[in-house]
C-alpha cells in the first residue's frame, strides 16, 4: 500500500495567543476552568453599537510567531469579516484576515526520530478571533462565550507532509516554536493549539494531488498522527475498491480511532467575506517589527545546533526540548561546564519520566545547583545512583535553596573517600573466609570476580565507600 500510494498532508493550526485580554475587548482572555460566560463584556456579547478595539498585544505576539516561522511580517495587514450563523458566534461573523494576513510565507524545519529533517513550508498565518462553545443536551443547548473573542493565529502549511509521523513531528515542532517564542501558553488540554489535518492520497509519481478530506479539531500530537494514519488507510481502501474520495470535513473520534463525515463540499457555506470597516489597517515599520522580534528568546533549532557536539540521543533531545525553561537551563550549564557534566544533567531530565520538574520553570531549580550536583559525581563524592536521588530531592520544596552537597549529606548519600577508613574495610573483607574463592579466582586471572569483593566493601560501608577507591585498594592488596 505504502509503495503504491503517496500520502500528502497539509495542516492548519489554530494557536490561542497568550494575551491578557481578548482580541477586540478588554475581557480577561484566560477562560481555563472559569464559570460559563464570566469573561464576557458587551463587545464579546455582540450588543448593538459595540465596536472592536484591536489588542496591540495580539499583533506583537503575531510578530513573534512570524520569527519562529521564518516568515516576514506584512507591513500592511487588514481584518475581514467571515459571516455565518451559529449560536457560538455573537456578531454573526468572525473577524479574521482573509485578504491581507499579517504573517507571510515561511517554513519550519521539522526534526524526525529517524532520518533528516523535513522542511514544511508555511503558506501564511493570520490573526482571527475564536468562537464560543456550545454544550448540547437532549432538547436544548447552552452557549458559553468565555472563549469568544480569544485571539488566535491560524498557521496554514503547504502540503509538504508525507507521513503520519511527519504530521505528528510537525505539530510537535510548531508547539515548541510557539511556546518558546512566547506566543501561546501551549496548554493542549485546554485547546490552546488545535489542528485541522488535510489528507489526500494519490498514486506515487502522479503529478496531481488526490481529493482531500479535512479532519478538524485535533488537540494532541498523537491524534494528529492517528487521524492521518486512519485517513490514509481509509482513502486507499476507497481507491482500491474503485470508489472516489469525497471532499469533506470529517470529525475525529479519539476513543474509536476513526474519522466520520461531518459535512461535504456541497454543504459548504458562502462566508460572504467583507473587509471590516470598524478596524483600520495595521501598519508596521521595520523598526516596530525588529523591536519586538529582538525579544524572542532562543528557539529549538538553535538549541539543537548548539548541542550537536554533545551527541545526545534524539529521544533525550526531544524530551528536554519539550520545555523551554529546561532547555534554557541546560544551555546555561552547557556554556559553563564541560560536556560530561552537562550530559549527565540532560540524562537526569530525560529519564525523569512523570516526575514533575516544573520547578525549573519558576527558576527554583537553576543551572548552578544542577551543575554542582553533576560535578559531585565527577569528583567521586556521589555515586550515579545517589546523584539521581539528590536530583529528585532538589525539587522538594523543603530543599529550596539548599546546596546539593548539604542535601546529599542529609540524605546520607555522600561517598566515603577516606583511604584509611576504606582500607580498614577492605582488609576486613579480604580476611573474611567467604572471600577466599573470589581471591583465588582473581589471582587465576578471572578479573570479573573483583566485583564480588567491591560489593562486599560497599555492603560493609552501608553503600558509602567510593567504589573506585575500594577497587584500587583491593587490587593493590592482592597485588594484581
Amino acid at each position: 500500500m505504502n509503495d503504491k500510494y503517496e500520502l500528502t498532508i497539509g495542516i492548519e493550526c489554530h494557536v490561542q495567543l497568550a494575551t491578557n485580554s481578548k482580541l477586540f475587548s478588554s475581557s480577561n482572555n484566560d477562560a481555563r476552568d472559569k464559570e460559563p460566560n464570566l469573561n464576557v463584556n458587551p463587545v464579546d456579547f455582540g450588543l448593538p453599537g459595540m465596536l472592536p478595539v484591536l489588542n496591540r498585544e495580539a499583533i506583537n505576539l503575531a510578530i513573534r510567531a512570524a520569527k519562529a516561522l521564518n516568515s516576514s511580517v506584512a507591513k500592511l495587514s487588514r481584518f475581514d469579516r467571515k459571516h455565518y450563523f451559529y449560536p457560538d458566534l455573537p456578531k454573526g461573523y468572525q473577524t479574521t484576515q482573509m485578504y491581507q494576513p499579517i504573517i507571510e510565507a515561511g517554513y519550519v524545519d521539522v526534526p524526525l526520530d529517524v532520518g533528516d529533517d523535513v522542511r514544511v513550508r508555511i503558506h501564511h498565518a493570520h490573526i482571527e478571533e475564536d468562537a464560543g462553545k456550545l454544550t448540547h443536551y437532549s432538547d436544548y443547548s447552552l452557549v458559553d462565550l468565555n472563549r469568544a473573542g480569544t485571539p488566535l493565529i491560524e498557521i496554514v502549511s503547504e502540503p509538504d507532509i508525507h507521513s503520519s509521523e511527519q504530521a505528528r513531528a510537525y505539530a510537535s515542532e510548531l508547539h515548541k516554536l510557539m511556546t518558546y517564542a512566547g506566543v501561546t501558553r501551549g496548554d493542549l488540554y485546554h485547546g490552546n493549539m488545535r489542528f485541522d489535518v488535510n489528507v489526500s492520497v494519490a498514486l506515487k509519481g502522479s503529478s496531481e494531488l488526490g481529493t482531500r478530506a479535512e479532519v478538524k479539531n485535533l488537540n494532541s500530537f498523537r491524534s494528529v498522527e492517528r487521524a492521518a494514519e486512519y485517513e490514509f488507510k481509509r482513502q486507499v481502501e476507497l481507491l482500491e475498491a474503485g470508489q472516489s474520495v469525497v471532499q469533506e470535513t470529517r470529525g475525529w473520534n479519539d476513543d474509536k480511532g476513526t474519522t466520520t463525515s461531518q459535512r461535504s463540499k456541497e454543504d459548504a457555506q458562502d462566508y460572504r467575506y467583507m473587509p471590516d470597516p470598524d478596524i483600520p489597517p495595521v501598519v508596521l515599520t521595520d523598526d516596530d517589527i525588529e523591536k519586538i522580534q529582538k525579544l524572542v528568546p532562543m528557539l529549538p533549532g538553535q538549541y539543537r545546533d548548539n548541542w550537536r557536539d554533545l551527541q545526545l540521543d534524539r529521544s533525550v533531545m526531544h524530551a528536554v526540548l519539550s520545555n523551554s525553561s529546561l532547555a534554557e537551563t541546560l544551555e546555561a550549564i552547557r556554556i559553563e561546564s564541560d560536556n560530561k557534566i552537562v550530559k549527565r544533567v540532560f540524562n537526569w531530565f530525560a529519564s525523569a519520566g512523570d516526575f514533575d520538574t516544573s520547578a525549573v520553570e519558576s527558576g527554583l531549580v537553576g543551572p548552578q545547583r544542577l551543575s554542582e550536583l553533576s560535578q559531585m559525581v565527577g569528583d567521586n563524592k556521589l555515586s550515579s545512583t545517589g546523584a539521581k536521588e539528590v536530583f529528585f530531592a532538589l525539587f522538594d520544596e523543603a530543599n529550596t535553596g539548599k546546596q546539593p552537597e548539604d542535601i546529599a549529606q542529609a540524605m546520607n548519600l555522600l561517598q566515603n573517600s577516606d583511604e584509611g577508613e576504606i582500607e580498614q574495610i577492605v582488609d576486613a573483607v579480604l580476611a573474611d573466609p567467604a572471600s577466599s574463592r573470589s581471591i583465588d579466582d582473581i589471582k587465576a586471572g578471572k578479573d570479573k570476580a573483583i566485583g564480588y569483593l567491591v560489593g562486599q566493601v560497599m555492603k560493609q560501608s552501608a553503600g558509602k565507600a567510593n567504589p573506585g577507591m575500594a577497587q584500587s585498594l583491593i587490587r593493590k592488596k592482592l597485588d594484581t
Binding site: P42, F45, G46, L47, P48, G49, M50, L51, P52, V53, L54, R81, H83, F85, P87, P90, K91, G92, Y93, V143, D270, Y271, R272, Y273, M274, D276, P277, D278, I279, P280
Partner: protein
C-alpha cells in the same frame, strides 16, 4: 428656544434645569400627534435636572450645557428607556451603557429627555419604515418627516428641545433637516464616536445633530467630537477651536444637481442662497462632477453589504426578539429575524448578502469600492480649487406620506445629493434656505473637505448674518 436662550435664562435665575426639562416634556406631550418621539425618559431626566440644579445652587460648575434638554435618535444607546432602533427586534432592549455621544453631552450637563423615531435600523428616507408608525412633517402633517432621523428633525423643528441627536449614513440627518427647516450636521467621518450607536453601515455612519441656530449646532458638535478609545475610527478633535482652518474664499456649485431633475422651487431657493453667498463676498462658480451620478449606485451596493453584516448579530439568541414556538435552530434564526425586521431591513440584507456572495463580490462590492475611490479622488481634485461645495440637500421638498408607495427606488432617489459626502467621509451640513410657496422648507447643503467642519459653520453663519443685515 435655542441653547443659548436656555443657558442664559438658567444663569439669570429665571429658570431652573427642572423647569427646562418640564417645559420640554410638556411640549413633547402637546406635539405627540406628530409621533416624533418613541419614548420619554421623564423620571431619569427630572432626577438629573434636580442634580444639576443642586450643583448650580452650590455654585459648582455643572457643564457648558447645564440644564439643556435634548432628544436622541432611538438608535443611540441611552438609559431611562429602551433603545429600539424603531424595530420590533429591539422593542424591549434596555441598554446597559450609553453611547459615547450621549455620555459626553450628559457630562456637559445636557439632559436627555426622550428618544426620537426613525426608519427601523435607520433604513429609509422618510421615517415611514419605523415599526411603530411614521412621524409627520413639522410643517405639514400630511407629509413625511424625511429620514431616517425624521423624529429628531421634527422634535427640533417643533421646539420640543433646542437640539437633537441623529445619525447620518447617507443623508439621514441632512435630508430631514431640509424637509423640516432646521440645521442638520453630518461631520467628517470619525469626528464623533460611533460607540453605542446601533450600527448601520460602519464605513459611512456618523453622529451629528439638529439645531435651530448655527451657534447651537457648532457647540453641540464641539462637545461630542474627539477621539474615543472605544471607536478605532475616531479622529483627533476635528472641532478643536485651536485647529487652524483655511478661510473659505471660493465656492463651487455642483451643476450636476442644478438641472431639470430637481424640483423647480428647490432650484430657485438654492439659486437665491447662492446669491446670498456672493453677497457675503464669496467667489462662487459652477463646478461639474459627472461621477456623482453614480454615487447612488455605489451607495446602494456598499451600504447594504455593511448592513447585512451589521445586522447579523440580531439572531434571537442572546437578546432582542425571539420568535415563539420554534423547534430548530434554522427556525429560531429565520422566524426571529422575519418578525423582528421590517421589509426595508430585509431588502437591504438580501441585496447586501447578494453583493458579498462568492462569484458576485468582485462584480459588485469591489467594483463599487473602486468607483468610490474615484469619487473621493474627484472630490479631492475639486477641493484643490474650491474651499467649499454647495448643492440642494434634496431634489424635492418633503413629499406626501405614502407617496413612494412600494417603490424603494423612488425613495432612494431622494438621497441622490447626500450620499456622495457620506461615501467620501466629508463633512456636510444642511441649512434652511427658504420655503416654497406652499410653506415647505428647503435646505441647501454645504460640503467641505475632511476635517474642515468648522468652515461650514463659519460660512453658514456669515451668509445668515449678511442676509439678515440686508
Amino acid at each position: 428656544m435655542t441653547i443659548n436662550d436656555i443657558l442664559s435664562s438658567i444663569e439669570a435665575g429665571k429658570m431652573t434645569a427642572r423647569q427646562a426639562v418640564e417645559a420640554a416634556l410638556k411640549k413633547a406631550d402637546e406635539t405627540s400627534e406628530y409621533a416624533a418621539l418613541l419614548s420619554l425618559t421623564s423620571e431619569r431626566a427630572l432626577n438629573r435636572a434636580d442634580e444639576i440644579d443642586a450643583k448650580l445652587e452650590k455654585g459648582e460648575d455643572a457643564g457648558r450645557l447645564a440644564g439643556v434638554p435634548f432628544v436622541a435618535k432611538d438608535n443611540f444607546l441611552a438609559f431611562g428607556a429602551p433603545t429600539t432602533a424603531a424595530s420590533k427586534m429591539l422593542e424591549n432592549f434596555k441598554a446597559p451603557l450609553q453611547a459615547t455621544a450621549v455620555e459626553k453631552l450628559e457630562q456637559a450637563g445636557a439632559i436627555c429627555i426622550g428618544k426620537a423615531n426613525l426608519d427601523a435600523f435607520a433604513h429609509g428616507g422618510s421615517t415611514e419604515n419605523s415599526a411603530f408608525g411614521p412621524t409627520s412633517n413639522a410643517h405639514d402633517k400630511t407629509r413625511v418627516a424625511g429620514g431616517s432621523s425624521g423624529g429628531s428633525a421634527v422634535a427640533t423643528a417643533l421646539d420640543v428641545v433646542p437640539f437633537t441627536l441623529g445619525s447620518d449614513t447617507g443623508g439621514s440627518i441632512r435630508q430631514p433637516a431640509s424637509f423640516n427647516g432646521v440645521i442638520g450636521v453630518k461631520p467628517t467621518y470619525g469626528t464623533v464616536s460611533r460607540y453605542g450607536v446601533v450600527a448601520m453601515a460602519s464605513s459611512t455612519d456618523t453622529v451629528g445633530c439638529f439645531a435651530k441656530s448655527v451657534d447651537d449646532a457648532e457647540l453641540v458638535m464641539e462637545i461630542m467630537s474627539g477621539r474615543d478609545d472605544k471607536d478605532m475610527t475616531t479622529l483627533g478633535d476635528v472641532m478643536d477651536s485651536a485647529k487652524a482652518v483655511k478661510p473659505v474664499k471660493k465656492i463651487g456649485v455642483i451643476s450636476d444637481f442644478m438641472n431639470g431633475d430637481v424640483d423647480n422651487e428647490v432650484l430657485k431657493i438654492t439659486e437665491a442662497y447662492v446669491e446670498k453667498m456672493k453677497a457675503a463676498g464669496y467667489e462662487v462658480e459652477p463646478v461639474s462632477m459627472p461621477i456623482i451620478k453614480h454615487s447612488l449606485a455605489m451607495y446602494y451596493i456598499i451600504v447594504p453589504a455593511e448592513v447585512s453584516s451589521n445586522l447579523a448579530r440580531y439572531d434571537g439568541v442572546r437578546y432582542g426578539h425571539r420568535a415563539e414556538g420554534i423547534k430548530t435552530l434554522a427556525e429560531l434564526y429565520g422566524k426571529s429575524r422575519d418578525e423582528g425586521f421590517v421589509t426595508e431591513n430585509k431588502r437591504r440584507i438580501m441585496i447586501g448578502s447578494y453583493v458579498l456572495s462568492s462569484g458576485y463580490f468582485d462584480a459588485y462590492y469591489m467594483k463599487a469600492q473602486k468607483a468610490r475611490t474615484k469619487l473621493i479622488d474627484k472630490y479631492k481634485q475639486l477641493f484643490e480649487s474650491y474651499d467649499l461645495l454647495v448643492s440642494p440637500t434634496a431634489p424635492t421638498p418633503a413629499f406626501k406620506l405614502g407617496a413612494t408607495g412600494d417603490d424603494p427606488v423612488q425613495m432612494y432617489l431622494a438621497d441622490a445629493m447626500v450620499v456622495g459626502p457620506s461615501l467620501a467621509g466629508l463633512p456636510a451640513i444642511s441649512v434652511p434656505a427658504g420655503d416654497t410657496p406652499d410653506g415647505l422648507p428647503v435646505g441647501v447643503q454645504l460640503i467641505g473637505w475632511r476635517e474642515t467642519d468648522r468652515s461650514l459653520f463659519a460660512v453658514a453663519r456669515k451668509v445668515e448674518e449678511v442676509a439678515n443685515d440686508n
